[in-house]
């Protein structure tokens, strides 16, 4: 594996620093919310992870499109890296959201638009990985994966809009609080600052992990090429 470029080493350090600072801000700096107390603090991490997860999804779709146009294998590596790490970030978002939902809405899960779309998005990620698993030829795998990210990227927004259409006509109410409530609350400036800082930190962590995963993908590609040459 190529040695880590200097910038990446710096980024590693910066990511850890930002994460610790974010933790500090969430637990020490940001005020306790009136009704939900500590439970509200999950919100900071949940939003950051969800945002980053969606960013990765977009990156994957763009990488897929570029691969189909340019047929350069490096875009396939980028696409896979984006999907894999976004899968994890989004899973964290879903789980943290569920933990927050229990005390707030009375249920771990509701079938409201955003949650349902999140579940479907996660399923698209997993289907993508299963698709890749079933193909041995690198070129074909790259082409099919790119096509699937495009199909997924187009269908998920349509899914979100269609569920919103569905659920606004028939609202679902579960537990003590209405699950159709947006869950928003008035944020003081300290809360806003914390939220943006956590968001920023996770974006940096995302870039860091993305870069590492791309490097890993490039190594995997080299190994596979050697394997294919040996087999011939």
């Amino acid at each position: 594996m190529k040695p880590q470029p200097k910038f990446l080493k710096v980024l590693n350090f910066v990511s850890v620093l930002l994460f610790l600072t974010a933790l500090g801000m969430v637990f020490l700096y940001s005020p306790l919310e009136a009704t939900m107390n500590y439970v509200q603090k999950i919100f900071y991490f949940h939003i950051a992870n969800a945002w980053v997860g969606m960013l990765g999804f977009l990156a994957a779709a763009v990488a897929g499109l570029i691969y189909l146009i340019k047929h350069d294998q490096k875009w396939d590596v980028i696409e896979l890296a984006a999907v894999e790490i976004s899968l994890v970030f989004f899973l964290i978002a879903i789980i943290s959201g569920s933990i927050w939902a229990r005390p707030s809405w009375g249920a771990y899960w509701t079938w409201e638009p955003r949650l349902t779309t999140a579940a479907i998005l996660e399923m698209v990620y997993i289907s993508y990985l299963l698709l890749r698993q079933g193909i041995d030829d690198p070129d074909r795998r790259a082409r099919f994966s790119a096509v699937y990210t495009l199909v997924g990227a187009i269908s998920v927004p349509i899914t979100f809009m269609s569920i919103r259409l569905l659920r606004t006509i028939h609202p679902v109410v579960i537990g003590t609080n209405s699950s159709t409530s947006q869950g928003s609350f008035d944020m003081t400036s300290k809360m806003l600052a914390t939220m943006f800082f956590v968001l920023f930190s996770f974006s940096v962590i995302f870039v860091n992990l993305f870069w590492h995963r791309i490097r890993l993908g490039q190594l995997a590609q080299q190994v596979e090429q050697i394997k294919l040459e040996e087999l011939q």
Partner: protein, 242 residues
């Protein structure tokens, strides 16, 4: 070698035949699939029997007293069509691949998208045939009148969208190791807007709601159909190239 340049190339014995028109190619593929199916009937019988068995299972899975029946009917119908459709899509493409027909089609001097449209139309035909049989059977078994023009329109629109995406994804799935198992995994997350819109629209028509109330869902179906037929058409080349 010197060739006399003739203005009318058709007079020369070595003249190239004009490549078959786009529509002719599509027609040929559809005809081939339908003719083959008419002789063997293996695809349709499998899909039909499967659809009827699924309805049977739903009978035990859900306690279908008369009230629940009315509410659950659109959902049951669309679940049945989805599963039976998957079967059809799988077999349709697998047959092409196994007998080398796909390679033959790719060698033909036609636009690749003609293959896509041909397969999509034949898949649609099979799915519609199954639906045409299932609807009366369901009507009789559950004593619900399903001969509703709105419902039929919804089923048509939903099926079009389903096979548009399904044909593309089954072309991909059939070329992988995991084949049959992979198609539902790829297809279902992506086809959810159709399910949502089709079930709600079907339900609306069966309950006798005004068309204006059902229109948002019909529009969604149309939008989905158009977008995904266009996307699949553009992207199909990448899926079948060697």
């Amino acid at each position: 070698m010197d060739r006399p340049s003739t203005a009318n190339h058709r007079s020369s014995p070595t003249a190239r035949r004009p490549s078959p028109g786009f529509l002719n190619a599509i027609g040929a593929i559809v005809w081939k699939d339908l003719a083959a199916e008419l002789r063997s009937r293996e695809l349709l019988s499998a899909m039909l029997v499967f659809a009827l068995l699924v309805i049977l299972i739903f009978n035990f899975a859900l306690e279908l007293d008369p009230l629940t029946r009315r509410v659950a009917t659109p959902g049951i119908l669309w679940a049945t069509f989805t599963f039976a459709g998957t079967l059809g899509l799988n077999r349709s493409m697998a047959v092409e691949k196994d007998r080398g027909c796909l390679d033959g089609l790719l060698l033909a001097p036609v636009d690749r998208s003609a293959i896509y449209f041909g397969k999509t139309i034949s898949n649609l035909a099979f799915m519609l045939i199954v639906e045409v049989v299932v609807l009366p059977v369901y009507s009789v078994l559950y004593n619900i009148n399903l001969f509703n023009p709105g419902l039929i329109a919804v089923i048509l629109l939903g099926s079009v969208g389903y096979v548009a995406v399904g044909t593309l994804l089954s072309s991909m799935a059939v070329q992988t190791r995991t084949r049959d198992v992979l198609l539902p995994i790829l297809l279902f997350p992506v086809v959810i807007p159709i399910l949502i819109a089709a079930v709600k629209a079907s339900s609306g028509f069966l309950q006798g709601l005004a068309v204006t109330e059902v229109m948002p869902y019909i529009n969604l179906l149309i939008v989905y159909d158009v977008i995904f037929t266009a996307v699949a058409y553009m992207v199909f080349d990448f899926v079948v190239e060697e």
